[in-house]
C-alpha cells in the first residue's frame, strides 16, 4: 500500500471523468459533488462493487428518472470487473479498449457521453432536417425500430427547440370561478364571509371571474415507412409536450392504432422511447390512415376528445387504402374536436401540390394545415395552437382551392 497517494489520485481522476461523462449525458452534476463523492468513497471504501455503485448513486442521482441513465453509464464506465481491484494497483481504466469492444447494446446517449460514438457517421447540424423517403407499402412490415440510434445531437437540438417554444395555448373557458379584483360577477360567498370584519354600513363586493384552462391535446402520429424520418422526432415532441402539459394523449398509427400515452409519461426520454418502441408493432410499415382513424373514432374519440380537445394529426396523407372510409372518418374526427391541425412534412417542398388522393380527401376536413419537417416548424406550431391566426387561414384557403 505504498502507492496509496498515487492511487487516490487516479481514483479521483476517474471519478472526475465519470462525473464529466454523466454531465455530458445530460445529468446535472456539479464539480462540488465530485469532492463530496471522493470523501464518501473514502469513507465507504471501494471493496465491493455494489457499495461503490450505491455510493456514487447517492451523490449523482437526484431524480428517479436519472437512475436508468446512471446505471448505463456506470456499467459502461466501470465495465472492467477487475478494474476496481486493480485501481489500488495503479491501473487506469482503459477507455480506448472499450471503444473496440462492441459489448451489449446500450443507449447511444450514454455511449456518446463517453466518447464511444461512431465519429465517422455524419452528425446532424443545428437545423435538423430529415430526408424524405417517398416509399410506402401496404404490407404490415411489423418491424421493430431500434430507438437506441438517436444521437445526443438530435436530442439536444430537439430539447433546445422545445425549450424555445412557448406553448401559450388558446385557453378554453371553464365553468369554474376564481377571485378577481374587479369585473366578472359578484362573489356572494366571499362578500358575506367577510361581512363581520367590515365597518358598519359598508359592504365591499368581492368579484369572481370564469377560469380558463389549456385544452386537452391529442396527437395522432403516423409512424409508417414514408414517415420514418419524422416520426421519431415527433414522438420526441410528444414526449416533451406530455411532460409539460397536464392533459395530452398520444397515439401512433401505421397499419394499426396504438395508444402510447402512458409510455410517454416517463420523464426520461430514452426510457420513454424504448417503451414506445416495444409497444408499437408497425414502425416503418404500411399506412392505413382511414382504418386507423376509424379505430380512433370508434374506440377512443369519445374517451379523450371530451371537453374541447385539440387534435394534431401528423401524417403525410399518403394512403392507398381507398376503402378505409378516409373521408368519412376525417369528417367525423373534425366534428368531434375543437380544432383539427394537420402536420404534414411533405409541405416543406416548395412546389408541393395536394395531388395525392389521400391528401385531397383529407384537406377539406382540417382547420389548419402545417409542415413539421424541422424544429422551426414545430416551433411555429405553437402559434397554430394559440388562437386563430389569419395567415394560416389564408394559406388554408389556398390549399383548399388547389385541392
Amino acid at each position: 500500500m505504498n502507492e496509496r497517494p498515487e492511487t487516490e489520485g487516479h481514483l479521483a481522476d476517474n471519478i472526475m471523468h465519470f462525473a464529466r461523462a454523466l454531465r455530458a449525458a445530460g445529468m446535472p452534476v456539479g464539480p462540488g459533488s465530485v469532492i463530496d463523492v471522493l470523501r464518501a468513497v473514502e469513507t465507504a471504501g471501494i471493496g465491493r462493487r455494489d457499495d461503490f455503485y450505491w455510493t456514487l448513486h447517492a451523490f449523482f442521482v437526484q431524480r428517479r428518472d436519472q437512475r436508468d441513465l446512471f446505471d448505463q453509464i456506470f456499467h459502461l464506465f466501470w465495465r472492467d470487473p477487475a478494474l476496481l481491484e486493480r485501481m489500488l494497483g495503479l491501473a487506469l481504466p482503459s477507455l480506448q479498449a472499450e471503444l473496440d469492444d462492441p459489448g451489449q447494446p446500450v443507449a447511444r446517449r450514454a455511449a456518446e457521453a463517453l466518447g464511444l460514438g461512431d465519429h465517422n457517421s455524419p452528425q446532424e447540424r443545428d437545423e435538423v432536417e430529415f430526408d424524405m423517403t417517398m416509399t410506402f407499402s401496404d404490407q404490415d412490415a411489423l418491424r421493430r425500430m431500434d430507438f437506441d440510434d438517436m444521437s445526443t445531437d438530435e436530442i439536444a437540438a430537439a430539447k433546445k427547440a422545445i425549450a424555445r417554444m412557448h406553448l401559450d395555448l388558446d385557453q378554453v373557458p371553464t365553468r369554474r370561478l376564481s377571485p378577481t379584483p374587479s369585473g366578472g360577477r359578484v362573489d356572494l360567498r366571499r362578500t358575506l364571509r367577510d361581512l363581520p370584519r367590515q365597518a358598519h354600513g359598508m359592504i365591499p363586493l368581492h368579484h369572481a371571474r370564469q377560469n380558463s384552462r389549456p385544452p386537452t391535446l391529442v396527437m395522432l402520429s403516423d409512424v409508417s415507412g414514408s414517415m420514418t424520418g419524422y416520426s421519431r422526432m415527433l414522438i420526441h415532441f410528444a414526449h416533451a409536450l406530455t411532460n409539460d402539459r397536464h392533459r395530452m394523449f398520444t397515439f401512433a398509427f401505421g397499419t394499426r392504432l396504438t395508444n402510447i400515452t402512458r409510455d410517454l409519461k416517463n420523464r426520461d426520454v430514452d426510457k420513454s422511447l424504448s417503451l414506445v418502441a416495444k409497444r408499437v408493432d408497425d414502425w416503418s410499415g404500411g399506412t392505413r390512415i382511414g382504418g386507423c382513424l376509424g379505430d380512433f373514432n370508434r374506440d377512443w374519440s369519445r374517451r379523450v376528445l371530451g371537453q374541447g380537445a385539440v387534435v394534431m394529426l401528423v401524417t403525410d396523407g399518403l394512403d392507398r387504402d381507398a376503402d378505409g372510409g378516409l373521408a368519412r372518418e376525417m369528417a367525423l374526427l373534425h366534428r368531434s374536436c375543437r380544432k383539427l391541425i394537420w402536420l404534414n412534412p411533405l409541405l416543406r417542398w416548395r412546389g408541393f401540390e395536394p395531388r395525392s388522393w389521400g391528401i385531397r380527401t383529407m384537406l377539406p376536413h382540417v382547420d389548419t394545415f402545417r409542415t413539421c419537417h424541422n424544429l422551426d416548424s414545430l416551433g411555429e406550431l405553437a402559434q397554430a395552437l394559440s388562437g386563430p391566426d389569419r395567415l394560416a387561414d389564408k394559406e388554408m384557403q389556398r390549399w383548399l382551392k388547389a385541392a
Binding site: L192, R193, L195, P196, R302, Q307
Partner: protein
C-alpha cells in the same frame, strides 16, 4: 332492510327489485356493501349503470341521493352553499331592529337554517332508514379539481365548512359512481373504489330483462328483438345499442302493434335503436333484411331442435 349476507343474497335482492345483474356485478355490489368501499361502474351508455344505484336504494329501502355531474361542478353545487338572499334579509332586519351586536348577527346568519345542503352533505347526514345510497352520476363530465375534492370526501366521509366545523358521517353512505368514459378518471380515485365494467347482457339475460320490464311484449316478438339486437352488437357500429335501447324498441314495437319483426317495421323504427346516422344508413334496408333472415333461420333450427 339489512345488507345481503352473500353474493347469492345480493343477486336475489336485486332480482326482487326487478334488476337482473350478472354474477360479476353482484359480486362487486356485495363487496362494496360489506367493505364499505365506493363502487365505480364504467360502461357504455344504456347498460344500466345508473339503474344499479336506483335499484339498490329501492331494494334496501334507503334514500337515494343523486349528484349529477357536469363541467364546472363546484362545492357550492355539490356540497353546501349559504343562502345569501336570506342572509342579506336577516342582516337588514337586524339593522332595522337596531341590533348592532355584529358577533351575534354573524353567529345567527351562519346557522343551520341558512345552510343549503347539496347532495354530498345530505348523504353524510344521518337518515332514519339507514345510510343512504349516494349516486355520483357521470363523473367523467366534471373536471379534475372536483375529482380531487371527491377523493378527500370518499376516503374520510367528512366535509369541513369553515363557519360551522367538520361534519362527519355517522355511518358512511353507500356510494355508487358511474362514468361513460368520455374522459379517463384518475387512477387515484379508481384505486379507492371497487371497479366494475358493466357489459352488454347476453341473449338469455336480455330476454329475461325484456320479459320483466315489458310484460305486454309477446314471447315471440321478445325473442326476435333480443336476437336482432344481439346480432347488431356483433356489427362494426359507432354506437352499439344498449339495454335501454332494447327496451325502448320493444316498447315502440308494442305501441305499433307489431306481432313479429319484418324488414319494413325494422327500417321504420331503427331510430329508436341506433342513434347515429352512419349506423342507421349502414343497417337500414339490405343489412337489416339479411339479419332478420338469419335470425329467423336460427330460431326455426332452435325450435326444431327442441
Amino acid at each position: 332492510m339489512s345488507l345481503p349476507q352473500s353474493i347469492d343474497d345480493t343477486v336475489a335482492l336485486l332480482e326482487s327489485a326487478d334488476y337482473l345483474a350478472d354474477r360479476s356485478l353482484a359480486t362487486g355490489i356485495y363487496l362494496s356493501l360489506t367493505m364499505g368501499r365506493p363502487l365505480f361502474l364504467e360502461g357504455e351508455a344504456g347498460v344500466g349503470k345508473t339503474e344499479t344505484a336506483k335499484v339498490l336504494a329501492r331494494a334496501l329501502g334507503r334514500d337515494l341521493i343523486r349528484l349529477q355531474c357536469y363541467e364546472g361542478l363546484d362545492i357550492g353545487h355539490a356540497v353546501y352553499e349559504w343562502n345569501y338572499p336570506r342572509q342579506m334579509v336577516e342582516i337588514r332586519l337586524a339593522e332595522a331592529g337596531g341590533d348592532v351586536d355584529r358577533e351575534a348577527i354573524a353567529r345567527n346568519i351562519y346557522g343551520e337554517n341558512f345552510l343549503l345542503r347539496r347532495p354530498i352533505l345530505q348523504a353524510l347526514e344521518s337518515h332514519p332508514s339507514g345510510p343512504p345510497v349516494l349516486l355520483i352520476d357521470e363523473l367523467d363530465r366534471t373536471d379534475e379539481p372536483f375529482e380531487a375534492y371527491l377523493l378527500e370526501v370518499l376516503s374520510d366521509f367528512q366535509v369541513t365548512i369553515p363557519e360551522i366545523g367538520t361534519i362527519a358521517a355517522e355511518a358512511p353512505p353507500i356510494v355508487v359512481i358511474t362514468s361513460n368514459r368520455t374522459r379517463e378518471i384518475h387512477d387515484a380515485l379508481k384505486r379507492r373504489c371497487l371497479y366494475h365494467w358493466v357489459d352488454y347482457p347476453n341473449a338469455e339475460r336480455e330476454l329475461e330483462i325484456l320479459r320483466r320490464k315489458m310484460p305486454g311484449c309477446s314471447e315471440r316478438l321478445s325473442g326476435e328483438i333480443v336476437a336482432f339486437v344481439q346480432a347488431l352488437r356483433g356489427k362494426d357500429l359507432f354506437k352499439l345499442p344498449g339495454v335501454a335501447e332494447t327496451l325502448d324498441w320493444a316498447s315502440a314495437l308494442v305501441h305499433l302493434d307489431a306481432l313479429t319483426l319484418d324488414p319494413k317495421t325494422v327500417d321504420d323504427t331503427l331510430g329508436v335503436l341506433l342513434k347515429y346516422q352512419d349506423d342507421i344508413a349502414r343497417v337500414k334496408g339490405k343489412e337489416a333484411a339479411v339479419l332478420l333472415d338469419q335470425l329467423r333461420r336460427d330460431m326455426t333450427v332452435d325450435s326444431a331442435a327442441q
